[in-house]
């Protein structure tokens, strides 16, 4: 169970493979459910050139840890990994990686979705979009 905050671009699938290679659940997992959130070049009809992700250092880690533990308590999973980007990013940049390993698929599917939904509603991150001539805070999680 690991959570990471990154202030520079990261390659989510590469990170996942590294983590998986070093993990102790080799041979035990039959299912890996992965979610990657990434930056779109438009939002609410406007072109977005840059996005800045602010967070509350300390509380972010605390809540990512908390929801990871909740998922581990609710489902029979082997491990989970959450990586979340902060700082300035560009279109197509990965924002978040959630990965869950389990013996069977239902648990991995359920837990990965739980982690994303809880992250989206409880982890203190905020997005600010730079449009061509303006900036705005994203107000809703869509």
């Amino acid at each position: 169970m690991l959570i990471e905050i990154k202030d520079a671009p990261f390659e989510p699938y590469q990170r996942l493979l590294e983590y998986q290679a070093a993990a102790d659940f080799s041979g035990k997992y039959g299912a890996t459910a992965v979610f990657v959130g990434s930056m779109r070049e438009f939002n609410q009809g406007d072109d977005v050139t840059v996005m800045t992700l602010e967070h509350y250092p300390g509380m972010t880690e605390k809540y990512l840890q908390k929801i990871s533990q909740e998922a581990a308590d609710k489902w029979d999973i082997l491990d989970s990994l959450i990586v979340h980007r902060v700082g300035e990013m560009l279109p197509n940049d990965p924002i978040v990686l959630v990965a869950v390993w389990s013996a069977h698929r239902a648990e991995a599917f359920d837990a990965s979705r739980y982690l994303m939904e809880e992250l989206k509603s409880r982890a203190p991150f905020w997005k600010k979009e730079s449009l061509k001539e303006d900036t705005r805070w994203v107000e809703k999680n869509t």
Binding site: G37, L53, Y56, A123, P124
Partner: protein
């Protein structure tokens, strides 16, 4: 954390709205989260949907605070 100071933080759009990121107040005149807001913002109206945390746990506006606490105010989160 044994001093009498209470740390107050504002994040994201709320930081811009109140015009400051960090503030401090003392325990003597701030017994609850809403009192910390009023003190630090000079009684600005609190935007609807403002979220509040004490020592990095979500709380309600009436939550008590004590010396050494870190109180935070921020808008709905939009990560992920």
């Amino acid at each position: 954390m044994s001093n009498a100071v209470i740390t107050i933080k504002f994040f994201a759009s709320l930081r811009e709205h109140v015009g400051q990121g960090d503030a401090e107040t003392s325990e003597s005149d701030t017994k609850t989260v809403i009192e910390a807001w009023n003190k630090a913002t000079n009684n600005m109206a609190m935007p609807e949907n403002t979220l509040m945390a004490v020592n990095m746990d979500y709380v309600e506006a009436t939550h008590p605070i004590k010396a050494g606490d870190e109180v935070a105010f921020f808008p709905p989160v939009t990560g992920g």
